[in-house]
Symmetry: C2
Subunit: 212 residues, 2 copies
């Protein structure tokens, strides 16, 4: 869960009436519902508060605005991504790509992810929030998959710490970026045939020698 990265301010004081956790859940769920029905541009704070059965002021007490609210609402969706050990690097990649594609088929995820990234181009704080709430969460899967592949002997161990880190970042961007682009920009289906083709290309790329 995401409760570690709180939205605004339970200042650290512990006296007084505590914030309603139920309200938090209701708001985030209502936000996702509203995203499905209205999309990003037509989603309003007032509408969300009505759906959640909370006062509009309560929303503003916890989130600075639409951007922050939606990031948190969507971040939870990425918790569902997992990396079951399917025995080979190729199978692991195909599995996680298909999971990611399924996630991007959900309208609230499609809409919100792109919209929030768009806003983050002008908002440093939002960028950080996306990194910790979404990017890092996905990147863990890449790290895990890589370790497994190394344990299996499919990929070489990398001495240089910093180079290994760059490689991980590269693979992550290739996988996530390609799938997102295919699904949302090109608007083409991410089906099993495509995934197999893409994975094959990626596998050959990874077999190649380490670059300078």
């Amino acid at each position: 869960m995401v409760s570690a990265m709180r939205n605004a301010s339970p200042p650290t004081g512990r006296t007084g009436r505590p914030r309603s956790a139920a309200a938090d859940a209701a708001i985030l769920a209502a936000t996702r519902d509203a995203l499905v029905e209205l999309g990003w541009s037509k989603l309003t704070m007032g509408d969300v508060s009505t759906r959640a059965g909370v006062a509009k002021t309560t929303l503003y007490r916890r989130w600075a605005g639409k951007n922050e609210l939606v990031v948190d609402a969507v971040a939870e969706l990425f918790d569902s991504l997992e990396l079951p050990d399917r025995g080979s690097l190729e199978a692991d990649i195909e599995d996680v790509v298909l999971q990611f594609a399924a996630l991007l088929r959900r309208p609230e995820a499609r809409t919100a992810l792109m919209a929030v990234v768009a806003e983050s181009t002008r908002d440093e704080a939002l960028r950080d929030r996306i990194r910790s709430a979404i990017v890092d969460r996905q990147k863990r899967l890449v790290v895990l998959g890589r370790e497994r592949a190394q344990a299996r002997g499919e990929l070489p161990y990398e001495e240089d710490e910093e180079l290994a880190c760059r490689t991980t970042d590269l693979i992550f961007d290739v996988i996530a970026g390609t799938v997102v682009h295919r699904a949302l920009v090109s608007s083409e289906p991410v089906d099993e045939l495509w995934v197999a083709t893409f994975t094959a290309l990626l596998m050959h790329g990874l077999q190649g020698p380490a670059p300078a």
Copy 2:
């Protein structure tokens, strides 16, 4: 230029006062300026009309709304992408990736591209507009690069028409998607070192045998 895909309706009749081409240019330029200064969410039609020195009603006579206007305003930026023949497939790829990265460093391109894609997830017409105005324009470069590589003997000629088309689409999504993801989601620099590493990975991937 983009004049082929007109915005709204010069119905086909030829009598009466013609639309001001200067106004068109001024509006699109003003839109880009406003995107740089305000970003997507704070950009308003009224503000654009003021900057362009036209009446707000003129904007609505030509574009249905913010989405359509911004697509056209940004599409022009993609005209600058070219594919000079640098002698090898690897060099060609590196060149176009660096160009694309430079384009994505422009704030109006960063912001608008993602925002428009986000809106397009709920708008079929907008999706088509993006495909014809932006996607197809980039994909031509991939087709051209592939043909050159085949002429050089770097890539095999593909008998199957349909498979060749799928491969082209895949390469396009890998290149564009990865670069966009690196630049906008991961928020890491697309520098020459990274481009070289990425290109090396892609080259090895392309050397592999054609998939089933």
